[in-house]
């Protein structure tokens, strides 16, 4: 029977029979939704403090009284977590596939043709700066864990509220996300060719093995921590606006 034999090029051209475009949807919905919510919240500049709870979008809190910075304090720090996620090896894959359709799915045609530059030139060559954002993220984690510590203290002393638990879960997920990072896996040991020949080689091998173990789940930590950051901020906003009362557990 006569039919075009060889698969032709062009956007969406494929001999695949499954609904390949379905793979793109969760990424578009989650990243799109989060971006809209996070932008709105970062510029809101209010309801980020509820008692001892501080929203992760606003941590570390800089110049909340607007002595020298007129805009929302979140805007000052936004670039670091944003840059960390944008240059993350996992999100790169997700965004290239779902937002740039480059490729939209495996063995499915696309529209960029010969003009494709990959990560060889501006702007995508900047993805190579990921490790610098990692260093920033590690500093942010110190602040976030400090926030969890502060969330253990109420007007009447030590305690645990639902907010404390939410903040602790969120910071744990963010920690797992950062510690499963590909760049970290490289820096703490992966860069070596011979662990046995290096100084403290065994310790570096252990660190690399642990990072490799976490790295297998990097995608899950990326998504879970994204959702948890949004959810933590949302909870704190609800408490801060008085829409709900924080549940005191202890």
């Amino acid at each position: 029977m006569a039919e075009a034999g060889l698969t032709q090029g062009g956007f969406g051209a494929t001999a695949r029979r499954d609904a390949w475009w379905l793979e793109m949807l969760p990424t578009i919905i989650l990243i799109g939704g989060f971006s809209i919510y996070a932008t709105a919240r970062a510029f809101e500049g209010a309801h980020y403090l509820a008692g001892s709870y501080l929203s992760p979008f606003y941590s570390p809190l800089i110049d909340p009284d607007h002595k020298w910075w007129p805009l929302s304090p979140a805007v000052l720090i936004l670039g670091f977590p944003l840059g960390f996620r944008v240059t993350c090896y996992y999100y790169r894959k997700a965004v290239y596939r779902s937002f740039l359709a480059d490729p939209p799915a495996c063995a499915v045609g696309e529209f960029w043709g010969k003009s494709y530059i990959g990560e060889t030139r501006f702007p995508f060559i900047l993805q190579n700066l990921h490790r610098y954002f990692l260093y920033g993220a590690l500093v942010f984690l110190v602040f976030l864990w400090h926030d969890v510590w502060k969330a253990l203290w109420f007007d009447d002393g030590f305690g645990i509220g639902l907010g404390t638990v939410i903040m602790a879960v969120n910071t744990s997920l963010l920690t797992l996300y950062a510690f499963s990072c590909h760049s970290l896996r490289h820096i703490i040991g992966g860069r070596l060719d011979c662990f046995g020949c290096a100084k403290a080689g065994l310790a570096q091998h252990k660190a690399w093995s642990l990072a490799s173990l976490l790295n297998v789940n990097h995608m899950w930590f990326a998504w879970c921590s994204l959702v948890s950051v949004g959810a933590t901020d949302f909870y704190i906003r609800l408490v801060a606006t008085g829409a709900i009362k924080d549940l005191r557990i202890l």
Binding site: K93, E110, H186
Partner: protein, 245 residues
């Protein structure tokens, strides 16, 4: 006996048609068996490549219902047999005849890679924990399915600038070898164009040997390229340390 329709590409690089063949389906049958049935009973001139029928020689690569697969590892009962099973040659390589493609470009790329070179004065001893990592890369059977699916080659036709995932796996196996002393990082960046890879992982998805091509070979190699070319702070730190020595 149950039957299925195989719709096979017949032709060459100049063009061709998809032709239907009815084949009996036996339990445990794979697509390669069905192709052999066609070749044995209906189309003795059907061009296809195979060797081991055990997923180890990497010869029988093709596209089954649009998915790059080893035909000897694709069971008929994993496919929807109510519709014709479409078998096409790998899209990224020129078709010689029917399902046989000319993969010789890969051998040209391979020649660019300096082979294993022992470090000067190396002690010929390796610890297991030092070789664990590179053993994964040795599993490659050179089926070239990853090369076929990679959009840099398949859609953007960057054969002149890009080496492709199979050769990043090979370079990773050499670069991370505990006894090797050659430096292939400039080659990776320039002649093999690792920067064209946008880590979208289709190679990993199709690899029949389940090598974590992107996570364990390409990304670690990209990080080594960053060390060498895109990390000014590391450069300064290295300079200070080497000056202090």
């Amino acid at each position: 006996m149950a039957e299925a329709t195989l719709r096979i590409f017949r032709g060459d690089q100049g063009g061709g048609t998809m032709k239907d063949y009815r084949v009996p389906v036996a339990p445990g049958m794979v697509v390669l068996d069905a192709l052999h049935h066609v070749q044995g009973h209906q189309a003795p001139d059907l061009g296809l490549r195979w060797n081991c029928k055990a997923g180890k020689c990497g010869s029988c690569s093709a596209e089954v219902n649009g998915r790059p697969r080893l035909t000897c590892k694709t069971r008929m009962d994993s496919l929807d047999l109510t519709q014709p099973v479409e078998v096409r040659p790998m899209k990224s390589f020129p078709v010689i005849k029917d399902l046989a493609t000319d993969v010789s470009w890969n051998y040209q790329v391979n020649k660019k890679i300096p082979p294993f070179q022992p470090r000067e004065g190396v002690e010929w001893k390796m610890q297991q924990h030092d070789v664990d990592r590179v053993q994964e890369f040795r599993k490659c059977i050179e089926c070239f399915l990853c090369q076929n699916v990679c959009h840099v080659l398949r859609d953007h036709d960057k054969k002149a600038e890009f080496g492709g995932p199979r050769f990043f796996v090979r370079v990773a196996g050499l670069e991370m070898h505990p006894l090797d002393g050659a430096d292939r990082i400039p080659l990776l960046k320039d002649a093999l164009g690792i920067g064209y890879c946008n880590i979208t992982k289709c190679c990993t998805e199709v690899c029949p040997e389940e090598i974590h091509i992107t996570d364990n070979a390409i990304i670690p190699l990209k990080e080594r390229v960053v060390d060498e070319y895109y990390d000014p702070v590391l450069k300064i730190v290295k300079k200070i340390f080497s000056a202090g020595r």
